[in-house]
């Protein structure tokens, strides 16, 4: 156990020596990886926020059903409330609606043209497209209306963002792998004598290769830290503005809209370490022949 700890300590020292030997190329690798991770993290933040927005929007979604004068609103409401997709049915009689309209718009005294209306709240936003056809089939309902298209467009945009983000992140990760590979290759070349001595004196491949893998992992962690700082800056300076704009449009949507930066940072760190360590492992496997 103590022996393993001493070996681990030496591996860490070798890693630091490798980082010191790499000089400015450390920053080149870290900055390229940081750009990739910032894009990945930014896209993740946006898609998760949009997902929350769609959910918040979904919670506001209700189907308005307009009844013919011949239909009894209470009876229809009772019938609709038996559907499993329905959470609540609110009856707005034509008289109440007309009074509100007159009060708001000061319309002239004419015969009430408005229909009896039912506002149907759903148990889940996904159920809109299940319930709507059922309502359309009911003879006691003249027409229905619901704001599905907006939510669908937001969802489509989110899917597009996810795909584009994945593509850009993958392309940048591949570029980063190349840069990491070249940097580690240079370190291996600079330390070939030490590697040869260690190998011929009976030191195992773990000790010889590990410092390079650790160096790659350090690059990944540092890049994730940098990307988190960038995203935090964006979060602090841009979010309040976006929130203000959204609040003026739909006040209810701004609640619980934010997606925490913590899981994104952890994910960026994991991706950075995997890309960094993976790139180094591949390079050391290719260039260190033991």
């Amino acid at each position: 156990m103590l022996r393993s700890l001493r070996i681990f300590r030496r591996v860490c020292i070798e890693t630091l020596l490798g980082l010191r030997a790499s000089g400015w190329s450390n920053w080149l690798v870290v900055s390229i990886l940081a750009v990739a991770l910032t894009i990945f993290g930014g896209v993740l933040q946006m898609t998760m926020t949009l997902k929350n927005l769609v959910n918040a929007w979904g919670n506001q979604i209700q189907i308005s059903a307009y009844l013919p004068d011949s239909a009894d609103p209470k009876a229809v409401a009772h019938e609709i409330s038996r559907f499993s997709e329905v959470k609540q049915v609110e009856i707005v009689t034509k008289d109440v609606a007309w009074n509100e309209m007159q009060h708001t718009f000061k319309v002239a005294s004419v015969d009430n043209p408005l229909p009896n209306t039912l506002h149907i709240k759903l148990s889940s936003p996904d159920q809109v497209e299940v319930l709507a056809p059922k309502l359309r089939l009911m003879s006691s309902i003249e027409s229905i209306r619901y704001p599905l298209k907006v939510a669908k467009k937001i969802n489509d945009f989110r899917h597009f963002l996810e795909l584009a983000g994945l593509f850009v992140t993958a392309a940048l990760s591949a570029a980063t792998l190349t840069v990491i590979g070249n940097t580690i290759h240079l370190v291996i070349k600079a330390r070939h004598k030490e590697i040869e001595i260690l190998s011929l004196m009976g030191v195992g491949p773990f000790y010889i290769k590990c410092p390079f893998v650790f160096q790659g992992a350090v690059y990944g962690a540092m890049a994730a830290l940098l990307a988190t700082a960038v995203l935090l800056g964006i979060h602090l300076y841009i979010d309040p503005y976006v929130k203000d704009q959204l609040f003026s449009l739909a006040p209810a949507l701004t609640q619980n809209l934010e997606y925490s930066l913590v899981p994104t940072s952890l994910l960026m760190c994991a991706l950075g370490v995997v890309v960094g360590a993976g790139g180094s492992l591949w390079t050391s496997g290719r260039y260190i022949k033991l």
């Binding site: 103590l2 022996r3 393993s4 001493r6 070996i7 030496r10 004598k193 030490e194 040869e196 001595i197 260690l198 190998s199 011929l200 004196m201 009976g202 030191v203 195992g204 491949p205 000790y207 033991l290």
Partner: protein
């Protein structure tokens, strides 16, 4: 201790070693001689499992090196001390750290490292140079550091590949005499060389290779010109 049985090694069809049979016992001191291209380095590389024979067996302490897995090679090398013609020292490290380098990599306790390195430096007579850097040392002193590093782990077998190749005759003799003293403590020493005056001055076992074949194996022998 070292045994080769019908060992052949070919590179791309051309033979570097042909049907070599050899036994070197525990604590023996032997020279492996021959001109350039005779197969000395190939034989040495077979012994520290840098290469595997095309056919035949290479055994050290009864272990058949052909059957070693990749993971077992470091374990074999810990039981060998290897000395190189170009010393292979790290110029950025002190003499002490050069000798301690591998011990630390193997996770040896620092107190034990201190003890073993000091003892190895005492054997090669370089205790007073422990804080010097290789660039501050003469060629002979650098080779002594290489020897200290090779013996620091207490290996039963010491393989020296042209250890005097970069040294003047007087220093070469000192280095070979140092290796002989180490051998007298029970370590098997095999020195590959084409340095005729040194071999003839020592009058020890001489194993001669020529064109990849074993042409002579003589106790208290000379390195005769016809061998080359």
């Amino acid at each position: 201790m070292i045994r080769l049985q019908n060992v052949c090694k070919n590179y791309g069809g051309s033979p570097a070693l042909s049907n070599i049979n050899l036994h070197i016992g525990l604590g023996e001191f032997a020279f492996l001689v021959g001109p350039s291209g005779a197969g000395k380095s190939t034989l040495m590389r077979l012994l520290y499992r840098e290469e595997v024979p095309t056919s035949g067996n290479v055994l050290i302490s009864g272990v058949n090196l052909n059957r070693l897995s990749k993971g077992q090679i470091p374990l074999l090398r810990r039981r060998l001390g290897i000395i190189f013609q170009d010393f292979k020292l790290l110029n950025s490290q002190t003499v002490f750290n050069n000798v301690a380098y591998v011990l630390r990599a193997l996770g040896v306790d620092e107190r034990e490292v201190n003890k073993r390195v000091s003892s190895a430096l005492a054997v090669v007579g370089l205790e007073h140079k422990r804080d010097s850097y290789p660039t501050e040392l003469s060629g002979g002193e650098q080779q002594r550091v290489g020897i200290a590093r090779a013996i620091v782990n207490g290996p039963p077998v010491l393989l020296a590949d042209e250890p005097t190749g970069n040294l003047d005759p007087a220093t070469s003799l000192e280095i070979v005499q140092l290796l002989e003293r180490i051998s007298q403590r029970g370590t098997t020493v095999l020195i590959s060389t084409h340095d005729q005056p040194i071999v003839n001055a020592m009058r020890r076992r001489v194993i001669a290779l020529k064109g990849g074949e074993l042409v002579a194996d003589v106790d208290n022998g000379f390195y005769e010109l016809e061998m080359a």
